[in-house]
């Protein structure tokens, strides 16, 4: 990519430069993995399993990840398994037992997400203020609800 100006301030250019070295498919996968981070349930599920510290059953996970539906949990876990973020072990018993464990890759991901999450959490006030100021000076021109 072109570096028209010299602003050494952001490490963002480094990212752009590095991404240039990736193939289309790799770049797409990168975006895909990043989007997992803001997936409604993935991070929460991973952190629950990670904190449990040992193989964790499906139903136990479902207790901890509050308000998740069975369908969504299944789908989330499948995705995490496919991406190598958790492992899944099925025991041929009756009733069936399935245990999930965080992988090293999964732990690493949590470690790398943590600082960002913390920054966002600590900046919550700024965002709140911005939103309130915006909503005050830009009164809803939409949502002309009835009348």
């Amino acid at each position: 990519m072109k570096k028209t100006d010299n602003k050494p301030r952001f490490g963002w250019e480094d990212i752009a430069a590095f991404c240039e070295t990736l193939s289309e498919a790799e770049d797409a996968l990168t975006r895909d993995m990043v989007s997992r981070i803001s997936d409604k349930w993935s991070l929460w599920t991973m952190s629950v399993i990670a904190q449990f510290g040992q193989p964790m059953r499906f139903s136990r996970i479902m207790e901890q990840v509050e308000a998740i539906s069975q369908k969504s949990l299944t789908k989330t876990l499948r995705g995490l398994e496919r991406d190598g973020l958790v492992t899944r072990k099925v025991f041929a018993e009756v009733p069936p037992r399935v245990e999930y464990t965080i992988t090293n890759l999964g732990s690493e991901m949590l470690d790398h997400v943590a600082p960002l999450w913390l920054w966002v959490a600590k900046s919550v006030r700024s965002f709140q203020d911005s939103r309130m100021a915006f909503d005050r000076r830009v009164p809803l021109r939409k949502k002309r609800s009835a009348l």
Copy 2:
């Protein structure tokens, strides 16, 4: 706001603990802001404006953020403005001119996202391998698209 303590390493448990101190609304907002990160256009748009290094016109942004539609760019910029990540300045001219600038908060966000993004990009091989292995041992039981 830049009172980030220099902890050598953030554990996920610390995040959970810190989030406990947030109100429901603050916690929801945190998730909201994190989800912005994987929004299809937000990060790309922010990085384009940031790298430009000076106030940037709507149409100029649209050239750089390839394949974005006018509607999506407008919506993205509105959201970024509302959250205090970019500023928007309208000039009463004909034809109209509108300039966008990255804010300090926006720059900080990019700075905090960068390392995560880089880690993901560098781990792309692992994810690829996991996916291929998974897809091999779990042959598509879905997508019975016309043979």
